[in-house]
Symmetry: C2
Subunit: 118 residues, 2 copies
DNA sequence: CTCGTAGTACGAGGGTTATCGTACGAGTCG
DNA sequence: CGACTCGTACGATAACCCTCGTACTACGAG
C-alpha cells in the first residue's frame, strides 16, 4: 500500500459495518455524485477531487465528496495538497454482493439510452 | 388480465422510457419506501395500501406511495375502494437488468445483518 | 518566506421532502 | 339513503439538501 498519505489529516469514514444501504442509495441518487462514482469505477484508481470536471463550485464539490465518503461509497485520503478518492469496492461488494456492478451497469445503460456523453 | 380496475380513476405513471435511475434510487433511499418495496417483492402480488403496517399517518402513506409510483417503481390501480400496488418488475428488469434483484438482496442482507424483523 | 494550488469551514438562500391534521371524495355494505 | 372504509387534497411546519460566496488552512515549489 502506497502509504504516501499525508499524516495528521485523517478523514472520518464509516466502518464497513456502519454502511447503510439507504445512505448509499441516497448518495447515488444525485446525478453529480453518480457521475463521480461512475468515473471512479471506470478509472479503477484513485482520482483527485480536482480531476473531475463538474459544473459547480469548489464548495459544492467538497460537499458531494463528503456525502459519498460519509455514506461509505468512497474512501478519501490526503496526499500532499491533493485529496485522492477511491471506490470502496471491497467493502461494498462484501456487504452487498453484486449491487455496485448492477448499479454501474444500470447507469451505463441509461447513459447509452439517453444519449449522454458518458 | 383481471380487469377489475375501477374505471375512470386512472393514475399517472411514467412510461418505461421515462423512468430514471436517479429517481428510482432516491425513491428507495427512504427506509419506509424500501420496506414497502421489499414486502411487495416478497408477496409477488398486488397489495393494498392499507395492507402495510407503517408507523405514519394515512396522509404520509399516500405521499410515499406516490413517490414510488412517480419514480416508476410501482404501478397503482384502483379496485373498488382499495388501491392496489404492484412492483413494475418487467419495466425495471428491462431497463436495468439485475438491478432490482441486487437491491432486494442487499436489503435482505442488511436486514439480517442488523437483526431487523424483515 | 512567499506564492500558488487544492481543498475546507461557515453561513445563507432557495428548493425539496417528510410529516401531520383536517376536510373531503369514491365505493361498498347494510 | 346512511354509515363506514379507503384513500386524496390541501395547508402548515420543520427538517433537509444543493448551491453559492467568502474567508480560511495545508501543502509544495521556488
Amino acid at each position: 500500500m502506497t502509504d504516501t498519505a499525508t499524516p495528521g489529516r485523517a478523514l472520518p469514514h464509516p466502518d464497513r459495518a456502519e454502511i447503510r444501504l439507504e445512505a448509499v442509495l441516497h448518495a447515488l441518487s444525485d446525478p453529480m455524485r453518480l457521475g463521480i462514482v461512475r468515473e471512479l469505477a471506470a478509472a479503477e484508481a484513485e482520482l483527485s477531487c480536482s480531476h473531475f470536471d463538474v459544473p459547480v463550485t469548489k464548495s459544492t464539490t467538497t460537499h458531494h465528496f463528503r456525502v459519498l465518503r460519509e455514506s461509505g461509497v468512497i474512501r478519501q485520503v490526503y496526499r500532499g495538497t491533493a485529496k485522492m478518492n477511491a471506490l470502496r469496492r471491497d467493502d461494498l461488494d462484501g456487504l452487498f454482493p453484486g449491487l455496485l456492478d448492477s448499479l454501474l451497469a444500470a447507469a451505463d445503460r441509461q447513459s447509452v439510452r439517453l444519449g449522454d456523453a458518458g
